[in-house]
Amino acid sequence: MRTPLLDRRSFMRMAGAAWAATLAPASLHALERAEAVFASGFKAHDGRFGMAILAEDGTIIERVALPARSHGMAYSAVSGRAVAFARRPGTFALVFDTRHRQEPVIIHAGEDRHFFGHGSFSPDGRLLYASENDFEANRGVIGLYDATDGYRRIGEFDTHGIGTHDMTVSDDGGMLVIANGGIETHPDFGRTKLNLDHMEPSLALVDAATGALIERHALPPALRQLSTRHVDIDARGRVWFACQYEGPRNDLPPLAGHFAKGEDIRFLDLPEQTTLRLANYVGAIAVNRAQGLVGLTSPKGGYAVTIDAATGRVTGETRVSDAAGIAPSPQGFAVSSYDGRFERSTADVAWDQHIIRLGRL
């Protein structure tokens, strides 16, 4: 196992020998890979953490042990590698080869950085981008990792915001789309939000080659407590974003929107009932390009909502208590829940808040 950024002994001490023993050699994996469609992080009922590879119907095909809780994931269809990023303020990311040609690789965040829980591969699979916190300077950065060289950290870009969370890459690989949630945190304070009365949410487009800021959309003062947290891109290249509101619970702020490069951001004008069902907290967003749909989940409201990407109209609302992750599927969207449901299957795990689809529909 190559661990170029990791003080391996320190990491093993942190992760524990029991966890290390669960990393089975690749030869033990002999499952039919064609079934593998989704991946998601989970917490098992014995308190251990992992990521799972799942079939279209939500059946778990394979589990990979993780030393601590993960959050978002990245996948490269070119290389077949999936990455589980530690939940903030975690400091590990695990790269897993879904084709089992290589042992898992652990990436460790740098000395003054921690992962924010999301990342993405470049379209050619050669670079891995990760959202990170430069916590001493209180600024978000995108860490750049060379996937062709053991995930060596080769640099970082400024996100032009704080509390960076989700990020993705344009189809041509030329632009990074970054959600700066605007909430200050510091590992000394755990997950405590330090600036709820002066948040600075924004969405930034950054040149993937140079790190130069292309454009930045700060939210207006009236919406400064609306944390822009998750993003996806539709078939037309429009950026869709979803938000979590930190202001009074009886406000009804807009919770999702979209924009294209060069345009102002536009919020969805959702019906009041839909906004109430999303409970001021959209936990995940996903685009189904083939069907022209956008999916939102709210664990707090217990709903999954689908929206027509062309018109912005709500096309469906499904009650899903503890709704967690969402990803495109032939039926529209696959949705998981904190209490172990994933499509038609139920497992003895708590699914984390994000699902990644392995490959296109």
Partner: protein
């Protein structure tokens, strides 16, 4: 609600285990339910409202009132010390400081509501201060001796790091504190008195906010669709449990592991909270007292299915174990981290604080139907 007799038996069974060594604490009866949990109990809005009402009226409001009263006495004591330095006035000021630390530590676990507005929390306590920002600012202010800095009116406009308990601790116990004894109304002492008054004023505003009948206390007691805090009982009880879970996490991560992370990691005794005044464990004891009082007095146990009431017993058992050990650790942190037997106590505290977090978040949260959702959806 659980019959008193049954509760009493469960408590007896739990407390009968008090002599078990620390590492066996994970085997308490409550953990047996992990493998075969009962279906979560169905909570009514009335039951939750009753718990929230007790939490607000019997714990939070009295907590802030006590903090305000103590801080007022502290301001008076420091002013008296400045006006007439003597061993007696000094001892009174120090005792008042220790009392305010205890009172604040009790209520600081409530990191929710008005304390998050206008940086009130940080105005009272700026910690951790890993880069010694506060220390440097206080030292610079003392060197500069600008008269304006020694007035309570000027402090709210300054850095939060020079306004609160950390700054006052340095004045009373830090390098140069002995100069307070030799001069009436010295600049250093007047600045300290101003800080104490500022703390009292901040505590007064917090208490006033919680005492308004149609303010935050109403919002917390009566969740509803038009409520700015909680739309329903589930949101309210999630927040209340969150106070406990995050409070326990803070004790472990921020208050103990800030200076001691185990045998393999170099200790940083001067990173401990209130190390100058020897109040580190006094503060942690106050935190634990706040957690136990909030859990017990609010009647969170009443929300459990009677068959799972042992979860409440195990929560209280773990907190009591932590309090018992905290009371016996050397308050001199330099000495504590250098003594194997004291380090053993701190290892116990770290392990059991972690256990407390799990009992609250997973066991209690699961039993009342919050499940993994309790901690999974907290802002990611």
């Amino acid at each position: 609600m659980m019959p008193c007799l049954l509760r009493s038996r469960l408590r007896s069974a739990l407390f009968g285990l008090a002599l078990l060594p620390a590492m066996t604490i994970g085997a308490l009866p409550g953990s047996a339910q992990d493998s075969n949990p009962l279906p979560p109990v169905v909570l009514t809005e009335e039951a939750i409202s009753a718990v929230m009402t007790r939490a607000v009226d019997d714990v939070i409001r009295p907590g802030y009132r006590d903090m305000h009263a103590s801080a007022t006495r502290l301001a008076d004591a420091v002013s008296a010390y400045c006006a007439a330095p003597s061993p007696d006035t000094k001892a009174a000021a120090h005792a008042a400081f220790n009392d305010t630390v205890a009172k604040w530590s009790f209520i600081e676990i409530v990191r929710d509501g008005p304390v998050l507005q206008e940086n009130r929390f940080e105005r009272i306590l700026f910690y951790p201060d890993r880069k010694s920002t506060g220390l440097k600012q206080v030292q610079a202010l003392l060197v500069k001796q600008d008269k304006k800095d020694a007035t309570a009116a000027a402090l709210p406009g300054k850095s939060v790091a020079v306004q609160g308990l950390g700054a006052l601790e340095y004045v009373l116990f830090g390098t140069g504190a002995e100069t307070l004894d030799g001069q009436k109304d010295s600049f250093r002492c007047r600045y300290g008195a101003a800080v104490a008054k500022n703390i009292a004023a901040t505590a007064a505003s917090l208490s006033a906010d919680w005492e308004k009948p149609d303010g935050v206390q109403r919002d917390w007691k009566h969740p509803g669709p038009d409520n700015p805090a909680f739309r329903d009982g589930k949101e309210a009880i999630t927040a209340l449990l969150g106070i406990l879970v995050h409070g326990a996490e803070t004790v472990r991560d921020q208050r103990i592991e800030a200076f001691y992370k185990g045998e393999d990691v170099p200790a940083r005794p001067k990173s401990a909270i209130y190390w100058r005044s020897g109040n580190t464990w006094n503060s942690i004891r106050g935190n634990l007292d706040g957690l136990r009082t909030l859990f017990r007095t609010s009647g969170m146990e009443d929300l459990l299915d009677p068959a799972e009431a042992s979860i409440a017993g195990s929560v209280e058992f773990v907190i009591a174990s932590l309090e018992r050990v905290v009371a016996n650790v050397d308050p001199d942190i330099e000495k504590a981290v250098g003594d194997p037997s004291e380090r053993h106590k701190m290892d116990f505290l770290i392990i059991n604080a972690r256990d407390l977090v799990l009992r609250l978040s997973d066991q209690y949260g699961g039993a009342i139907g919050l499940g993994a959702g309790f901690s999974f959806a907290d802002g990611d």
